[in-house]
């Protein structure tokens, strides 16, 4: 290994922190952050108004867990996907397309430090957005069911955070793969909102296999934890005329879900990092 040049003073961890600090500053001041917050506030506001006015079944006519399942459980994953795409989708591709990489990369800093710093900044921004949504749901829940915060809701919020960590890594990997910001954002949204869900359904219904390889299957724990009792790992339902067919339905258990999300986090983070290290700044 070569000796470090005496003027390369700041260490790699310090560089990760510097990259995270200035990228977060850039996120925090950008219109995108406030657009995302506005979207979350609109979703929260609409839920508040619609539930208050129509009092739909499943929200306020049962117990607190039912409320959080119908509100938070239905939208948390959507908020996670949107945040990951907004803050991670073009984090790396933007360095190429917007040419900001030409300012930052030709300095005595490792690309891995830039990458990890950007990832941390995106995680902080996404966590703020998720926290705002969780607080809005909590405020509504406490209004209808004062003094009751189910432990399952706390777990669900924690699982949503884990899902966000994994989804951000996936978005960063796609961001490292493409040089176009719009394509990498679009790919992240399409994959996380549609493709993985379709794969889950096709794998379970058509092939009858558990989609253990899918991030959205693992993320099912965010809403499943709000169902009591926890859904069975596998159910087989008879379908078709005379029950000639059987349809399998799978639900990841909590350990399975956490394992799937954890593997996605590690594999995608490393994959994105390797892609970024190898990617060249060609015009």
């Amino acid at each position: 290994m070569s000796e470090e040049h005496p003027r390369a003073k700041a260490g790699s961890l310090a560089h990760v922190w510097i990259s995270a600090k200035y990228n977060f500053l850039n996120y925090f001041r950008a219109r995108r952050f406030y657009v995302m917050l506005a979207i979350i506030l609109i979703i929260s506001g609409l839920l508040t108004v619609l539930v208050g006015y129509y009092r739909p079944p499943g929200f306020v006519d049962g117990n607190a867990l039912g409320f959080y399942g119908a509100g938070w459980g239905s939208f948390a994953n959507f908020v996670v996907v949107l945040s990951a795409a907004f803050f991670g989708g073009d984090a790396i591709s933007g360095e190429f397309q917007n040419r900001t990489g030409y300012f930052l990369v030709p300095n005595p800093i490792r690309r891995s430090a830039i990458y990890l710093g950007k990832w941390i900044a995106a995680l902080v921004a996404s966590t703020i957005v998720l926290a705002v949504f969780a607080l809005a749901m909590l405020a509504n829940g406490l209004f209808y069911f004062p003094g009751t915060v189910p432990w399952e809701f706390v777990q669900s919020v924690a699982f949503a955070f884990v899902y966000m960590v994994a989804a951000l890594s996936l978005a960063f990997a796609f961001s490292s793969l493409f040089k176009s910001s719009s394509i990498s954002i679009l790919m992240s949204v399409i994959l996380l909102l549609f493709v993985f869900n379709v794969v889950d359904t096709v794998a379970a219904l058509v092939a009858g296999i558990e989609p253990w390889f899918s991030i959205t299957y693992g993320a099912g724990i965010v809403s499943n934890i709000l169902t009591v009792p926890y859904p069975a790992a596998k159910t087989v339902v008879a379908a078709g005329p005379g029950g000639r067919f059987t349809i399998s339905q799978f639900n990841a258990t909590v350990p399975e879900g956490l394992l799937i999300l954890g593997i996605y986090f590690v594999v995608m983070l490393v994959l994105g990092l390797v892609l970024f290290e190898r990617k060249e700044f060609t015009s």
Binding site: A8, I18, N26, F103, F281
Partner: protein, 310 residues
Amino acid sequence: MSPSIEARQLSKSYGQFAALTKLDLKIQGTKCVGFLGPNGAGKTTTMKILAGLIRATEGTALINGVDVAKDKRGALASCSTLIETPEIYPSLTPKEALSMLCEIRGVPRGERNKRIDEALARVKMSEWENKKVGGFSKGMKQRVNVASTLLSDPEVIILDEPSTGLDPRGMSEVRDIVMSLKDRLVFMSSHLLAEVTEVCQEVAMIDHGKLLVYDTIENVTGKFAGGGNAVEIGFAGGVDEPLRLRVSKLQGVSSATRSNDRHLIVKFDHAAVTQDKLLELVAGLKAGALTFAPASGLEDAYLSLIKETL
């Protein structure tokens, strides 16, 4: 040890296209070296390899003796670069962007503000230091980019067409800044030969990915400029191909090359035609010739070494 930049058998290919072919170049000492060549010659490719933005297919790039591919942090620790008009995070102010670079480069906390203020003052951007870069013009951003190269007192500065996007005053100011960097090694690419002549002591010329010459400007012009047998002629109505052909067929003219839309560089044989006679012949074409002046020595050398523009 004096600052140095070295390319050893440096090659870069994109599929079948060889952008750089076994480039050998060693520059050492405190001076300014101009890096010249036509579009696509391999200038930016060389600089990008030195800056760690791309990897060489073969060969080694060293800054101050440190291999960029093996130890980018060490190689760039005392080297600043300005490659292809970089963009700065739009929500940051110049002060914040430069502060980020100071932190990355390990400039002591107590010195950062002073360094940033001095660098911004040199590029006349002090009054914009707390405005967001996103609202800046291309020229203003380029000034901040130039300031970024001055922050950490680097021994080596690599500048890829630093005047790009600047107005005439900005260009002049950048020239002054480069000329003031006497105690460093400045490696600067440019298409502005007058700028290179003014600020550089040495010049390296490259074409089709290969080094043609590296020497002092005097030696290069002495060897290749053809002893002042070239004039630059400006035409009011611009230069088209028929006009270039008509000029090239005049008595004693050995070549006529467009230097831009309105100018021709005309090389001629002293034995066949004198400069005043040539002026007479050009005027006789009634093609709207407005200016007639000896071509710069470097331009003449450039044109005799580099035959094609692409």
